[in-house]
């Protein structure tokens, strides 16, 4: 029941209060409202400011190393025996993931707003590293909030952040993962709102965050569109990206939303399997609710309490999702599916052995689904996987599963 999207419809979203249809909005305590409204006003102004955009583009080119390549995974395609599989190599960005596109943009915003103290939440640590990195470059004070469980399973990234001069706050409350890190970052923000800029790492949170993070990440899809036309003379038939909060997926999808022929697949973390309840797949198995400043699909119990989540991948271990994805699901423009921990781990090994590319466990979810999807498609069709990050940070997790002490 997909409805035809037009440019006009897209530019009207989100509305002036940050809504994507029934989703999004600004659900925060009063203390933060003024800051959010100032941020929205300034961002909408800077979005049209050539100097701001030129600085952003130059940083993406010279500091991040963009454009990232669109790579034809020839052996993977042969092994799969279906559609051509291409990889958008966000893993080759500086700091090893797509996250830096957004932190560059938001740190630039912080500078324009004159804020010297930066806070961020992180799950896998990629956003924390990307934030610490831009803070080091700009000489900004950086505090990263990270769930205690994630501090353990992503110790390499914790150390990287410390080397970059950030202070890492281990969060012991609640389920000690990404959602609790976000709660704690909000508490810090409400306390230090006068001098602090909160760099949210995904397309969730109160308006205008879902909007501005999407805009900063949309470079992924714009490049993919151009590269695809250059290299193959046509648009891809399908795009596949993993979805935790959904920033790499929306960045890939957004420039293709009006291209009806391009199928969009967001891959959530199926954990031990949707049927077990131990997963992190709100779009596949949740329902709409309000958390962290926006209305969106959530994993919650019948009483509206947020449910615990599970994923082998810390970056996907989150009970909510960006509101624009909720909207894309409801209008039927994007398909949201899930793969299990085991399938993602298998895809990690497959891509590593067949292409010599080690994906982040988050991105391995997209690889796992794309391989299944490719097998059902024709050989002249084309799939692009957003390879959102590299797997170095996950070596410890993989080794542990193999029973190897590093």
């Amino acid at each position: 029941m997909s409805e035809k999207l037009t440019e006009e419809m897209l530019t009207a979203l989100p509305d002036s209060r940050g809504h994507f249809g029934a989703f999004g909005g600004r659900f925060v305590s009063e203390t933060l409202m003024d800051s959010l409204m100032t941020l929205e006003r300034e961002y909408l102004r800077l979005k049209k400011d050539p100097e701001f955009q030129a600085t952003f583009d130059q940083d993406l080119a010279d500091y991040v190393g963009r454009p990232s390549p669109l790579y034809f995974a020839e052996r993977l395609t042969r092994e799969t025996g279906g559609a051509q599989i291409w990889l958008k190599r966000e893993d080759l960005n500086h700091t090893g993931a797509h996250k830096v596109n957004n932190t560059i943009g938001q740190a630039l915003l912080a500078s324009f707003l004159g804020k010297k103290r930066i806070i961020a939440e992180t799950g896998a640590g990629q956003h924390g590293v990307a934030t610490a990195t831009v803070c080091a470059r700009l000489g900004l004070e950086c505090h990263v909030f990270m769930g205690a469980e994630d501090v353990q399973r992503q110790s390499l990234n914790v150390y990287r952040m410390k080397l970059l001069g950030a202070e890492v706050h281990s969060v012991e409350s609640g389920s000690r993962t990404l959602k609790d890190a976000m709660n704690e970052a909000m508490r810090d923000w409400v306390t230090n709102v006068d001098d602090t800029f909160y760099i949210i790492g995904t397309v969730a949170g109160p308006h205008p965050y879902p909007l501005l993070v999407r805009d900063f990440q949309a470079v992924i899809g714009r490049e993919t569109r151009r590269q695809s036309l250059e290299k193959t003379g046509k648009l891809p038939d399908a795009l596949v990206a993993c979805v935790g909060g959904g920033s790499n997926a929306i960045g890939m999808f957004y420039p293709f939303l009006t291209d009806e022929s391009v199928q969009l697949y967001g891959v959530e973390a199926g954990g031990h399997g949707i049927g077990t309840g131990e997963h992190a797949a709100p779009l596949c198995a949740g329902r709409p609710g309000v958390l962290h400043g926006n209305r969106t699909y959530l994993m919650e119990d019948e009483h509206g309490q947020i449910a615990g989540t599970h994923s082998v991948s810390a970056g996907l271990d989150y009970p909510g999702v960006g509101p624009e994805h909720s909207w894309l699901k409801d209008i039927g423009r994007a398909n949201y599916v899930s793969v299990t921990d085991d399938e993602a781990l298998e895809a990690f090994r497959m891509l590593t052995l067949v292409e010599g590319i080690m994906p982040a466990l988050e991105s391995a979810h997209a690889v796992a689904y794309a391989v299944k999807l490719a097998a059902t498609m024709d050989k002249d069709q084309m799939i692009v996987i957003n390879l959102s990050g590299r797997g170095d940070k996950d070596i410890h997790t993989i080794a542990q599963l193999d029973g190897i002490e590093l």
């Binding site: 909005g25 659900f27 959602k179 306390t191 309000v290 009483h303």
Partner: protein, 270 residues
């Protein structure tokens, strides 16, 4: 006139200030909450704010976070909180009760079902921390139709334009958050609060309750001097945490905390 308006008007005519305690419903156990409410009424409180526990209390400091965790662990749900209010109403139909919490449990129950059940139970007002008036356009009319007072927050960062707009959406009272921060932090600056509340009084006729950072008779009196009421939360919730094993001792401790606050506030009466 709502029960909240009635109580605040009577106090105002007597030159007295409202003492408004906050406790988390279901902490330390759902069976004890109604007894604690009666204890607080006996200690002289005017309005009770009853916290509805939520798994992700983003605006709360550690004391109320832990209270929410304890309450949820004991099976507290929004429906059960409403049942507590019903039970309280069996022997008290004068003390207003305001439910304070986060939006998602209300979303999960459904706005209309919640509004019906709340008024049926004897709830007087609803304060949803993460629901600014901009997002309340669906739920606020449902409250108004049933005579539930929607109570919104004002903060040190709230602009004059918003103070006017928010007051226009509120009834009963407005809740001024005394500092930028989470509940339970010790950051209150009485002089700043006095200046802000005086300014808010110029912009709205609604009574102004002040919360966050009030922990003893001295701060209660200082803030009472410049506002229409004081809201006391974390210090009570902390007392509950420390006495959770002995309910009778807990009731005495709550009384010992509230009595001096009541006396200090009443000593301000002109």
């Amino acid at each position: 006139m709502s029960r909240i308006e009635g109580v605040l008007q009577t106090l105002r005519s007597q030159g007295r200030k409202a003492l408004i305690p906050f406790i988390t419903a279901g902490d330390p156990h759902p069976d004890e909450t109604v007894g604690l409410m009666h204890t607080m009424v006996d200690a002289g409180v005017d309005i009770i704010e009853l916290g509805v526990p939520f798994s992700d209390p983003m605006a709360d400091g550690p004391v109320i976070q832990l209270a929410s965790e304890r309450a949820l662990k004991q099976g507290t749900t929004l429906r059960r909180v409403l049942a507590m209010v019903s039970e309280f109403r069996q022997s008290n139909d004068t003390t207003p009760v305001v439910l304070m919490g986060y939006l998602n449990p209300i979303e999960a129950m459904g706005y209309e079902a919640f509004a019906d059940a709340a008024i049926e139970a004897g709830v007087d007002g609803v304060l949803t921390v993460d629901l600014p008036p901009e997002e309340a356009d669906k739920v606020a009319p449902l409250f108004a139709q049933r005579g539930l007072d929607p109570i919104f927050l004002l903060a040190p960062t709230t602009t004059d334009e918003r103070i006017r707009a928010i007051s226009g959406h509120s009834s009963g009272y407005v809740y001024y958050v005394s500092f930028n921060g989470v509940t339970g932090a010790a950051r209150i600056n009485v002089e700043e609060v006095a200046a802000r509340v005086a300014h808010i009084h110029e912009l709205t006729a609604l009574p102004v309750g002040v919360g966050f950072g009030i922990r003893d008779a001295e701060t209660a009196a200082a803030v009472g001097q410049v506002s229409d009421g004081v809201i006391v939360g974390s210090v009570l919730v902390d007392t509950i945490a420390r006495n959770q094993a002995d309910i009778e001792a807990l009731k005495l401790a709550l009384t010992d905390l509230l009595n001096p606050m009541r006396e200090a506030l009443d000593s301000l009466a002109s």
